[in-house]
């Protein structure tokens, strides 16, 4: 195949290196590991949402032919606790069952059939406890607690921020709008369900190959929970078959480790089926939000009051951090001088709320972007005009009171939208609606932060070597869960070292070979590791050139240039092959490691220490404006998105194709969240257990997306880029909701915007007007 693999400039499309194997079915994912002597491992889930554990009856299962062992909490030698911030989740339940997906026992069996049978033979004796299922109510419940040892009862974290005159400023407003909103859970639905493979070797090394976003953090968690020396745990992270935040932290790692410890020398495998994945995995938090927004006659937003409740289910996972990011973005990309923002993230017995692409921001954006439209309507302003009058500019204060200091392209995004034919021709398009259809156009403007915030170090360690055969090898500690960051790293190194991409190799994350570089999350992977890699590649290049300059007694390294496979001495035209030069370098010249830590906000105003620890405030933000053409069937209420436009400011572009992949994918997930995806939980039990009840968009459900980029240079970013992985997830729900309101003159306050819900709202409207 003839693809351009020659020296690539930054900003050019270079086909993804990983695609070559993936497209042929040759890439080996964690779920692909298999051997004849392996042992299948399965998990007995609680099946009930809240109870005190009395006894686990495992005898029958244990004696079944083909069962190797059945393990419970008694077999866990370490803390039996895992979690990113608060370590509150047991590997195997020991005292209480806190949700239906809790792992109670582990079965090791010779094949899947025996495994299934054995799992069905395990019985749990328990004493039921009252169900805690409403996050808002649970905050004041002092009697029924999910975690008796949590100092704040059922509240995992509460954050509040007040700026300006706070709520007092509502009296200065000419207009105040109030509304409340609800959003359900969203399931990640990565196609590769949680999977891994582990083995304990004769030296006592436990190696776990797993579909994860966080190999280095996993290593610590496994060691601590199972009582192992961290040096005796190794995590290998192949390409994930999707993750989107759902593999940010432990899924099956500790269970795999526990199983492997009981059968030394034998490989063990866990691969959850879809139903078990849906029951046990983390989701985007379901939430209830109360908004009040005040404006002046001139369309300037003046005061904002927000209260919201995120349901984090039984365990912290990353719930506190998710809520904090929601709080930070609860006022959108607007300059609002007076705010009173309060968020709670609350323990319940529902499924676990955790990290999911865009991390707490889609929920508040659904509310805020509709609020802005409601204010615009009352003031007789167009949705675009009100946004143009209020969006932040560099140097403005954002709603939490900190200063926007990164490149700030939201005005550019909106101005491009204003000139775009889809905006200009919207009225005509709406008029052309076919019979029994109503059409509307909705927009949204969004900002989204990058990185970990002010306290948790957002760092990466890049290592690169000149190999013995004269190629370059990157040691990468950040996972590629499908977003293509690996390819960008290779492109960056190739560019700096002036090599064809085929001269660059890359070692995927492996705690024994690569260096700790944080999680694959928070729109930070290319930014943080990219910056470290630029430094490492430049330094290595300098070492190599210095060595050659010394060898041939040249005046300075400026007389040389590096080209694919060799170095040329310009004054004489002599060239030196890299595979020869490499022999003259010792390891400390041949191998370079560089550390990079992302800059953080230095502002201390209005943010308390706990919130800072959970990530507020951020320093660098990306921006988008979105536009949706929606068509509603008046008979079924069903919404169809006919056209979709996204205008993104995520800084300069390294590879336009990879950026566009991120934009498309995020919008697709956002449109699923807007229209179809409704993860139903009743009495703590998940009801949508497969793809026939939990509907994610198919190729027939999505429009072609047009995407435009505002390429502002972010001075701190590698080649001027900043994060792009998450931001576009936020726009579709509010843009579609605003489009529906435009078409039907009704507001939908609960997502997703299903046909049924819209028909109901239409009916209510009719009844009201009668």
């Amino acid at each position: 195949m003839k693809l351009d693999r020659k020296i690539v400039e930054i900003g050019r499309i270079i086909p993804r290196i990983d695609a070559f194997n993936k497209v042929r079915g040759l890439e080996k994912y964690a779920s692909d590991y298999h051997s004849k002597d392996m042992i299948w491992v399965g998990v007995k889930r609680a099946g009930i949402p809240h109870a005190r554990l009395k006894k686990i009856k495992i005898d029958k299962a244990k004696h079944l032919k083909g069962v190797i062992d059945v393990l419970t909490h008694k077999d866990v030698k370490g803390t039996n606790r895992q979690g990113v911030v608060r370590k509150d989740q047991p590997v195997l339940v020991d005292d209480k069952i806190r949700y239906a997906g809790d792992a109670v026992a582990l079965v090791l069996a010779k094949d899947k059939k025996v495994l299934m049978h054995a799992l069905s033979l395990i019985a749990i004796d328990y004493e039921p406890l009252p169900l805690i299922f409403d996050a808002e109510k649970a905050i004041n419940d002092k009697k029924n607690l999910v975690h008796e040892d949590n100092p704040d009862g059922n509240v995992l974290l509460h954050g509040k921020i007040e700026t300006g005159k706070g709520n007092k400023a509502f009296s200065e407003c000419d207009l105040v709008v109030e509304a409340s909103f609800e959003v359900p859970y969203q399931e990640h639905a990565y196609l590769e369900t949680e999977a891994g493979w582990a083995i304990l070797d004769s030296d006592g090394m436990l190696t776990i190959t797993v579909s994860t976003q966080t190999p280095f953090r996993d290593r610590s968690e496994v060691a601590e929970a199972l009582g192992l020396d961290i040096k005796k745990v190794r995590i290998i992270a192949p390409y994930c078959g999707g993750a989107f935040g759902g593999k940010d932290g432990i899924t099956v790692q500790t269970l795999l480790g526990l199983a492997a410890l009981t059968v030394p020398g034998k490989p063990v495998k866990i691969w959850l089926n879809r139903e078990e994945s849906f029951i046990s995995s983390v989701k985007r938090h379901q939430a209830r939000l109360y908004y009040k927004l005040g404006a002046k006659k001139d369309g300037k937003l003046h005061a904002l009051d927000v209260r919201f409740f995120y349901d984090t289910g039984p365990y912290d996972h990353l719930g506190g951090v998710v809520m904090a990011l929601g709080l930070e973005h609860s006022g959108g990309p607007y300059h609002i001088p007076n705010t009173n923002l309060k968020g709670w993230v609350v323990y319940t017995n529902n499924p676990i709320g955790g990290a999911f692409r865009a991390f707490g921001v889609p929920q508040v954006t659904f509310a805020m972007e509709q609020m802005v439209d409601m204010v615009a309507k009352r003031l007789n302003l167009s949705p675009l005009e009100i946004r143009l009058r209020n969006v932040i500019k560099k140097g403005d204060k954002i709603p939490i009171g900190t200063t926007m200091l990164s490149s700030t392209g939201i005005t550019d995004c909106l101005n491009i939208l204003k000139q775009h034919p889809l905006w200009k021709e919207r009225e005509r398009w709406k008029r052309d609606a076919p019979i029994f259809k109503k059409r509307g156009v909705g927009i949204a403007s969004i900002m989204h932060a990058m990185g970990y915030g002010p306290v948790v170090p957002d760092y990466a360690n890049a290592k690169i070597e000149l190999t013995e055969d004269g190629k370059f090898r990157i040691f990468c500690g950040v996972v590629d869960m499908g977003q293509g960051n690996i390819n960008s790293y290779m492109q960056i190194a190739a560019n700096i070292l002036n090599q064809d991409i085929d001269n660059i190799e890359l070692i995927l994350p492996d705690t024994e070979k690569t260096l700790s570089s944080g999680s694959s999350s928070a729109s930070r992977t290319t930014y943080t590791f990219g910056n470290a890699l630029i430094d490492a590649s430049k330094t290595l290049k300098e070492y190599i050139l210095n060595r050659v300059a010394d060898l041939i007694m040249a005046k300075s390294i400026d007389e040389f240039t590096m080209v694919p496979g060799k170095i040329i001495h310009l004054p004489t035209g002599k060239s030196f092959l890299l595979k020869e030069i490499t022999k003259f370098l010792n390891d400390s010249e041949r191998i370079v490691t560089k550390h990079y830590r992302a800059p953080v906000s230095k502002e201390l105003v209005s943010i308390d220490e706990r919130l800072r620890l959970h990530g507020i405030p951020h320093l660098i933000f990306s921006f988008v404006s979105h536009l949706a053409y929606v068509e509603i069937d008046e008979l079924t209420g069903e919404v169809e998105v006919k056209k979709y436009l996204s205008i993104t400011d995520s800084g300069k572009i390294i590879n336009p194709q990879i950026l566009e992949q991120q934009i498309h994918g995020a919008i697709a997930q956002g449109l699923g969240y807007a229209i179809y995806e409704d993860f139903v939980v009743e009495d703590g039990k998940a009801k949508t257990l497969d793809f026939s009840t939990y509907i994610i968009p198919t190729a027939m459900d999505l429009p072609d997306i047009e995407s435009i980029n505002v390429e502002l240079h972010e001075s701190s970013g590698p080649f001027g880029m900043k994060g792009a992985g998450e931001i576009n997830t936020n726009g579709p729900l509010p843009a579609v909701a605003n489009g529906v309101a435009d078409a039907l003159d009704i507001r939908i306050f609960r997502s997703p915007l299903t046909g049924e819900r819209i028909l109901m709202a239409l009916k209510e409207k009719k009844e009201m007007s009668n």
Binding site: G242, F691, D704
Partner: protein, 153 residues
């Protein structure tokens, strides 16, 4: 039971339980892990294989149904060079992200282009609508199939 079939051009005779799922035969017994499983219930298309030339879901087939059939998996789709033009188009047009849906997508595209040499974008969307992808939003997959149809590689 003994089952004889052709897999990617090679005759295979295997001894398996008649009710073993074909996806397990392919992935576990024969070691071809390019065929993916993402639902196990016929809802996602990841496990697509070609049976006598037509796409079938291998998670819903039992080993006995392989008898006498000709099976092509993603590993066997290439002709003489090491990649089929559809696979090249997927790479070039950015149709692959996590890649877990890709084998199934490539096989249904192969089937589509055999039946319909010049599919419209809507026809392509319809043809791949039984195959879920959580990463791409499908647009670049449609681009790739369109390009492969036009041999615009």
């Amino acid at each position: 039971m003994k089952i004889r079939f052709i897999l990617n051009g090679e005759t295979k005779v295997i001894d398996v339980e008649a009710d073993r799922r074909v996806i397990d035969v392919i992935r576990e017994d024969l070691g071809l892990t390019g065929t993916k499983e993402a639902c196990g219930r016929g809802e996602c298309g990841s496990c697509t294989i070609l049976v006598d030339g037509s796409p079938k879901l291998s998670c819903l087939m039992l080993a006995a149904q392989l008898e006498g059939r000709e099976i092509i998996t993603i590993e066997g789709i290439k002709k003489d060079s090491d990649m089929h033009p559809i696979q090249e188009a997927f790479i070039k047009h950015g149709a692959v992200q996590c890649g877990f849906c890709t084998p199934g997508m490539v096989l249904v595209s192969f089937d589509l282009l055999k039946r319909n040499k010049k599919p419209s974008r809507d026809e392509i969307r319809e043809a791949i609508s039984g195959n879920l992808c959580r990463c791409t939003g499908y647009q670049k997959i449609v681009d790739a199939i369109e390009a492969a149809a036009k041999r615009e590689l």
